[in-house]
C-alpha cells in the first residue's frame, strides 16, 4: 500500500508541476526516480517533523500540492500544533502520508503505535482523514487527493494486505462504501479493518446471521447519511477499527447515533484498542487479535449484541 501510494505521487508529479514531495529521513532509495527526474520538487529534510510540516505549509501557501511522508506517530503526535496551525488553520493543500497507522509497528512498541491518530486528527477543523483498505483503494484515492481543497491525513497500512475492495471508479472523498448490504447486523469499519469485517460477516452468515459491511475509507468528512441509511436496516451495529475506541471511527458513529433516535431500537458497540498503551510486541495481526479486532471476536461481539437488542422494540425480520 505504501509503495503504491508513493509510486502514485511520482506518477502524478510527472504531469502536474504543482506536486512536491517532502520526506523526513525515509528508507534509502525511496522515490529515487522522483528525485532523479524532478529534483527541484523533491525534499528529504531530516528528522525534524515540526519543520517539515511548516515547510510543507509554506510550499502549499504558494500553490504547490505537497505530499509529506513520515511515520504516523511523528506526524500525529510530535507536530500536532504545526498540523493544527500551519495546515488546518491555513487550510492548505498538504497531504500527510502517515506510515504505519494503527499497530503496524507492533514489534517496535508503543512509541511507534499510531493508535489515537484518527481521534486527534478528527478534532481539527478542515482536516480530512482517509484510511484505505488496500493498495487498489489507495491508488484510487491518491488520484482523488490532488485537487481536494485542504489538508488530508492519509493513514497507510502495513502493505501487502489482501485486496478486498472491488470498486474501480473514481474515489470520492467523504463517501462510505457499502461492501455488503442488508442484514440484522451492521459492521462499520475503516482501513484494514475491512478485511476483518468481511471475514466476520462470512462467519456470521455461516451461523445464519446476515451482516452488512459499511466501509469508511474516509473518516472525515464523515458520511453520516450512509451510516444512518444502513443503520436503519440493522438491529446491532458494531464499529471495528485498528485504533483506540476513544474518538475514532467508533467514536464518530457513537456521536452521530446518540443524537438520533436510532439507538432506541438498536444496540451499538465499539471494537478497537482499549484505553491503554499496548504492552506486548509480536505482530500487527496478533495485537489486533489480542484486542478483539479479529473475525472471530467481531462475529462473537455482533452475536452477543444481537441477543441483547431491546426486545420491546425488536425490529420485524
Amino acid at each position: 500500500m505504501r509503495e503504491n501510494c508513493l509510486k502514485t505521487v511520482y506518477e502524478l508529479a510527472k504531469t502536474d508541476e504543482r506536486i512536491v514531495f517532502v520526506g523526513s529521513d525515509l528508507g534509502v532509495g525511496v522515490l529515487a526516480e522522483f528525485k532523479k527526474e524532478m529534483p527541484a520538487r523533491f525534499f528529504m529534510e531530516g528528522v525534524a517533523e515540526q519543520n517539515l510540516v511548516g515547510v510543507a505549509a509554506g510550499l502549499a501557501m504558494e500553490g504547490h500540492v505537497v505530499y509529506l511522508n513520515t511515520i504516523a506517530t511523528f506526524l500525529s503526535r510530535r507536530c500536532y500544533e504545526q498540523v493544527a496551525v500551519d495546515l488546518c488553520l491555513h487550510n492548505v493543500n498538504v497531504r500527510l502520508i502517515a506510515n504505519g497507522g494503527g499497530v503496524v509497528y507492533a514489534p517496535l512498541g508503543p512509541t511507534h503505535l499510531a493508535t489515537e491518530d484518527i481521534a486527534i486528527m478528527r478534532a481539527l477543523p478542515n482536516m480530512a482523514i482517509v484510511a484505505p483498505a488496500d493498495a487498489k483503494e489507495m491508488i484510487r484515492f491518491m488520484h482523488a487527493s490532488v485537487d481536494h481543497q485542504g489538508p488530508i491525513y492519509i493513514r497507510v497500512a502495513k502493505g501487502h494486505d489482501p485486496v478486498v475492495t472491488t470498486d474501480t471508479g473514481p474515489f470520492v472523498i467523504g463517501k462510505a462504501v457499502p461492501m455488503r448490504t442488508g442484514g440484522e447486523v451492521l459492521l462499520v469499519t475503516t482501513g484494514v479493518g475491512l478485511q476483518v469485517c468481511l471475514a466476520a460477516a462470512d462467519q456470521l452468515a455461516a451461523g445464519g446471521v446476515k451482516a452488512a459491511v459499511l466501509h469508511f475509507p474516509t473518516i472525515k468528512p464523515f458520511d453520516t447519511e450512509a451510516l444512518h441509511a444502513h443503520a436503519e436496516g440493522a438491529a446491532a451495529i458494531v464499529a471495528v477499527e485498528e485504533h483506540t475506541i476513544i474518538g475514532g471511527l467508533g467514536g464518530a458513529c457513537a456521536e452521530y447515533l446518540a443524537e438520533t433516535d436510532l439507538l432506541a431500537s438498536r444496540r451499538f458497540k465499539r471494537v478497537g484498542i482499549p484505553d491503554v498503551f499496548p504492552s506486548v510486541y509480536g505482530d500487527q495481526a496478533g495485537m489486533m487479535r489480542k484486542y478483539g479486532i479479529s473475525a472471530e471476536a467481531v462475529a462473537a461481539t455482533a452475536t452477543t449484541l444481537l441477543a441483547a437488542r431491546p426486545k420491546a422494540v425488536r425490529i420485524a425480520a
Partner: protein, 272 residues
C-alpha cells in the same frame, strides 16, 4: 547601541499603536515598541509589495513570526493602505479583523497566521523553497522574537535553510533581551547568539534595531552572502520610546490599560 533617539515618524507610529491599544485596553506594548523600526524600514525602504493587490506574485513575503508583536505590523499595514486606519479602532473587537495575533485569513498583507511561536521560520523556508522552484526573485523575511528562539522548531528550520543555502530568506531577530518572565539570560540564555546562526549556515549581521539609517544600510545589503540565508540580529529595547515601559516586564503584555496610562505613554513618546 540602545539609546537611539527617535524621529517623528517613529514617534507617530508609536502613537498609532497607543491609540490602537486604547480602544482594546490591552496589547503587547513592549514587543510592538521593540519592533517598530524594523517594520518601518522593511515597509518604507526594503520590501516590494502592492497594497492594492496583497497577493501579487512578485511581492516579497514578510512573516511576523512573533505574532504578539502585531500592533507594530498593523500600524505599518494601515499606514501603507492595506486596510482603512479606522480598522485599528476595532483591535480585538468582535467585528474587527485585527486580533491579538495576526490572522492571514482576515488581514490583507498578513502572510501567515502566527501567535504560537516557532512557526514562522519553517513556513518562511517553505515559501523560499517555492520561490526557487518557480524561479521567482521574491524574497522572504521572517521576523522572530528572542524568546521565540527557545523553540526547537526555529533551529530545525534554520538548519534546513542553511542546508539549502536559501539566500532569498532573511531571519530578523528582535533581540530585546527580555521574554515574558524575565531576561533572556535568566530564562534561557541565547548567547553566543550570532554564532549560533552562523553555525547553522547563516550570514549574520548585527544592528541597532532602533537606528533607522543603520537598519536601512543593513537590510539594503541583503543578501549578506550569495549562497547563504541571512540573519539580522537587531539589538532592541523592549518598550522602546516610553521610558517607564522600557525593559519593564509589566508592559510585555498590558491589560486594562487606563486613559491615564495612555496619556502617560503619549507624553513619554513625545520626550523620547
Amino acid at each position: 547601541m540602545t539609546t537611539t533617539r527617535l524621529d517623528e515618524r517613529s514617534k507617530d507610529l508609536r502613537r498609532v499603536i497607543v491609540r490602537t491599544l486604547q480602544k482594546a485596553r490591552r496589547g503587547h506594548v513592549g514587543a510592538a515598541f521593540s519592533l517598530i523600526e524594523i517594520f518601518r524600514v522593511l515597509y518604507d525602504d526594503v520590501l516590494r509589495f502592492n497594497p492594492q493587490d496583497p497577493k501579487w506574485k512578485g511581492r516579497d513575503r514578510c512573516i511576523l513570526s512573533k505574532g504578539h508583536g502585531c500592533l507594530a505590523l498593523y500600524a505599518l499595514l494601515a499606514d501603507k493602505g492595506y486596510f482603512p486606519p479606522a480598522e485599528l479602532d476595532k483591535f480585538c473587537a468582535p467585528d474587527g479583523i485585527l486580533g491579538g495575533h495576526p490572522d492571514a485569513g482576515k488581514v490583507p498583507g498578513v502572510e501567515a497566521s502566527t501567535g504560537a511561536l516557532g512557526h514562522g521560520l519553517p513556513i518562511g523556508v517553505g515559501i523560499a523553497l517555492s520561490q526557487r522552484i518557480v524561479k521567482s526573485d521574491s524574497r522572504v523575511f521572517v521576523v522572530l522574537g528572542d524568546g521565540e528562539c527557545n523553540e526547537g522548531s526555529v533551529w530545525e528550520a534554520a538548519m534546513c535553510a542553511g542546508k539549502h543555502g536559501l539566500s532569498n530568506l532573511t531571519a530578523i531577530v528582535d533581540y530585546n533581551k527580555h521574554q515574558s518572565y524575565a531576561s533572556t539570560k535568566e530564562v534561557q540564555d541565547l548567547e553566543p547568539f550570532a554564532d549560533k546562526w552562523r553555525s547553522f549556515g547563516f550570514a549574520v549581521r548585527e544592528v541597532d534595531g532602533h537606528d533607522v539609517p543603520a537598519l536601512r544600510a543593513t537590510l539594503g545589503a541583503l543578501p549578506f552572502a550569495a549562497d547563504k540565508p541571512s540573519a539580522v540580529i537587531a539589538h532592541t529595547v523592549k518598550g522602546k520610546g516610553a521610558h517607564f515601559a522600557e525593559n519593564n516586564m509589566k508592559w510585555h503584555h498590558k491589560n486594562k490599560v487606563t486613559d491615564q496610562e495612555v496619556e502617560a505613554l503619549l507624553a513619554a513618546i513625545g520626550e523620547a
